[in-house]
Symmetry: C2
Subunit: 149 residues, 2 copies
């Protein structure tokens, strides 16, 4: 997929992140492209009382339900922040083909920062692209946490 399309999907994920911020949730958004479907979602942990309701998890669940298969073969997942270990594990479970994320999560990121989950010898390994629109994603997070203080 050409970079221009990646950028367009990541921009949608950033719009989703802004929706999370408007709800008082940590601003993280995700877009999942599988077959002819485009699924969007954002972090909803507090509002849904669901500790697993990270943006990535919500789009993975919704996409799998819509296509009627827990394996999202050939899918691409766009997310504004490096996934945590829960989400990295879900990406493997769902057989996500390609993961594109924006900002690194130096503290809890489980793709390259805290841990390299996809190099543990799990039963699937997605292709990974990182850093796309990272400044915009980081800025959203910084602004959110500054306001919270």
């Amino acid at each position: 997929m050409p970079l221009v399309q990646d950028r367009s999907f990541m921009n949608m994920a950033l719009e989703e992140a802004q929706k999370a911020a408007a709800l008082g949730e940590v601003p993280i958004g995700a877009v999942l492209v599988v077959e002819d479907k485009l699924i969007k979602g954002h972090n909803r942990v507090i509002i849904d009382s669901d500790p697993t309701a990270h943006a990535e998890m919500l789009v993975i669940r919704k996409a799998a339900r819509e296509i009627g298969n827990y394996r999202l073969v050939g899918s691409s997942l766009y997310v504004t922040l490096e996934p945590c270990i829960m989400c990295a594990g879900a990406i493997v479970q769902a057989r996500i083909g390609r993961l594109v994320y924006a900002a690194r999560d130096e503290r809890y990121g489980a793709v390259e920062s805290l841990l390299q989950s996809f190099d543990l010898g799990l039963n699937h390994k997605p292709q990974v692209i990182s850093g796309l629109l990272q400044q915009q994603a980081s800025q959203l997070l910084k602004t959110f946490f500054l306001k919270k203080r």
Copy 2:
């Protein structure tokens, strides 16, 4: 909590695992005890078309929804198999107080086998007890996979 109670909850988790097997799902069950609630669940990945529908995830989600808080402070989670990295991450996100599991998952277990997720410096670390009724849990899995062949 005394061992006799742990054993009783793990037996319930084993009954849940049998329900999963009856559905053609990998037989793994879980029980979550939080406040005055006891929540049971079993693996439903295929039947729900949900790659995140591991037993632990389902009881965590349900419990959080029922108490209206994504943090399950003071909770105990019983599961028949060592959690994978997705579930270990969810256990941290949910602030599970105490994790009791039966059999080890030598290949994908993310508590002591493949990875020690709770020693990575994440923002919560549950108490862990492992090996309770492990033979029963392993036997269920072995029987299931033998039949599948």
